[in-house]
Amino acid sequence: MIFCSIEFLVFFLLVAAAYWTLSSRLARALASVASAAYLGYVGWYCFSIAYTAVGWRSDAFDAAWASLPYNGELFFVAAVVFFGAGMAWAFGPQRGRVWLLLAASFYFYASVTLWLALLIFASTILDYCLAHGIQALKAPAWRKSLVAVSVTANLGLLCYFKYTNFFLGSLLAALHRCGATSSFSLLSILAPLGISFYTFEAINYIVDVYRGRVRAEGNLANFMLFILFFPHLIAGPIVRARDFLPQIRRRKRWDWMRIELGARFFLMGLFKKWFIADRMAAFADPVFQYPSDYSGIAIAMAVIAYALEIYGDFSGYTDMAIGTAHMLGFHLAKNFDMPYLSANVSEFWRRWHISLSTWLRDYLFIPLGGSRGGKWQTCRNLLITMTLGGLWHGANWTFIIWGLLHGLLLIGHRMFHGFCEGRSLWKRVLQSGPGTALRVLTTFLAVCLCWVFFRAQSFENATRMLGGLVRLHGKGSPMPAVGLLLTVGVVVFCHLVARRNLWQRVAARLPAPVLGVGYALVLALCLLFAPMAEKPFIYFQF
């Protein structure tokens, strides 16, 4: 189930409706009766068809189940609502809401694979127990051991599911190059969606409890909701325990302003995904697949298109997650801040995937020594952090090289910054209007070149792409260039509007109905540009 699908819309509307009406006894009773009636009806319908005069027939049951609306999804959503309403009767509306969201999050995840959802459940319970142990114990050695157990367990799961085949494959390739043969082969492992994200969330919680920055959460349901909350579960943003746990405890009230804000974020995300990302994929995908066939101009266009695609895709997902969370009364931190307007790579990482870069800074770069040591130590720490950040994205050498390149760019920027420190003329020129434009352009181009490694399926493909940039002959762009130019224009315009805060000023002056009509038109525009086939989010693979 992805955010921009009709299944998610049905799921979210029903869960949100139940979530906000649980405080009213009448609405709670209605939700309980309606969901119980639906569950009973589906049960009766499927069993009566399967249990015919000749006895039980599982194929008849399956056929009956498949004929249900949304392939039986409504049944599970009704079960979630029924469970939430039951918990609200038992423990009050506030706790009922937490349980409802927890059940909804579990279902959201289990709709992909059930046993992987159970695995996350188990690892979350382990972290919950270990955090309490860390808080209760006084001896530093024991506390450290428990942190080590938790970090090892979380990273162990991550490594097993995500990196086992990568390491095995690399080993096999190395053996093959040496002329040796081996009897072992790659394993058949299905990585749980979003494992990289919730692993980092669990680690930040455990480390923060160890450092005394956060108290171990007493309520298991609250802690599980922090990890499993469905808007951020699969592709972030990576939330911090100290930001999120207090929000779970806070009493929620229906607020039209938040609903509007959430809807606006969601709409913005939809626009980025459908209007920008999915359309840019048509420019980038064929060229990245067969780079040798295309001319340098087509390759350059594909690289720029991919830069826009990944930005639209990932920041679009994040906006939808933030919007969905707002509509449920939660605030998720900003994850993107117009990164392509950055004047240097360091600034780019303060604006791109902010939740990951701050996580890497706080839990990797600083513990490694940060920039407190000498120049070389800082460079080493930057390289380690960025390379591991690259590896976090995916189990492939291309991601490692991408991270390494960013590490080198950060080191280069640091050195150049040091060089400019004592030279006021350089500083003045670079900080002038044209100088800043030049810096933004240089940074954008450097980031685009790094994206080649991020997107390419293999190192060879990436080098073919880079080598092809100077090729004069070959096929032109797979799509008309005007589409790319139009999208670049739209993105630049939106960035200018956001940077100058024009939207806030204009929106505040517009009459409310006009604003509503504007939102409706944007939604209609998104639907008009929506791709025929559903295209998954890029960051789902991480």
Binding site: L261, P513, G516
Partner: protein, 181 residues
């Protein structure tokens, strides 16, 4: 440095102003903003619903080809060809599955085969639709007749596997509702 001091002063004055505002006035301002959001959301939903109904009406009444653009685009080409007047070429039309869609080479047939066989200029049209079986072919032919398309020659792909039932049950998924226009 100076700018920072000015900003800090401005922020502190804002805070003081907010503190100085009576709670009743603050509540009223919040109420006004909430009402504005309520109107925005509702008018947005109403407008979107109106847009959807309007579009559905337009599609039903004057642009039915939008419902099934693959069919609509091809129908437009056939109708243009049929409207060409007395010197119009003969029309050869083929219905079938994705085999026809990808395998029936329209331009090649026009140059070499069809004109030679029939001894007359020929315009060929490919109505192969992915996922089609005999039922969809019949449906396509019915739609073409209803849209006043009378080809000189109609070719129909027949898959023995579908007729003998070897291809499995004919399921709903093979007959998308937007094609039943």
């Amino acid at each position: 440095m100076e700018a920072r001091v000015v900003l800090a002063a401005a922020a502190s004055s804002e805070r003081e102003k907010a503190k100085a505002t009576p709670p009743a006035l603050r509540a009223r301002s919040r109420h006004v903003r909430a009402h504005r959001s309520f109107v925005t959301v509702l008018s947005g939903l109403a407008m979107f619903a109106a847009f959807q109904f309007g579009l559905a009406a337009v599609v039903e009444i004057s642009m039915p080809e939008i419902r099934d653009p693959i069919y609509g685009r091809r129908l437009h080409l056939v109708q243009n060809s049929l409207r060409a007047g007395p010197s119009k070429p003969w029309t050869v039309l083929m219905v079938g599955s994705s085999h026809v869609e990808w395998g029936f080479r329209v331009e090649k047939s026009e140059e070499k085969t069809w004109s030679e066989i029939l001894g007359h200029p020929v315009a060929t049209f490919n109505f192969g639709l992915a996922g089609s079986g005999s039922l969809t072919e019949l449906l396509t032919w019915d739609r073409l007749r209803r849209d006043s398309v009378r080809p000189s020659l109609l070719l129909v792909e027949t898959s023995p596997a579908l007729l003998s039932g070897l291809a499995g049950d004919y399921r709903e998924g093979f007959l998308p509702t937007h094609r039943v226009a």
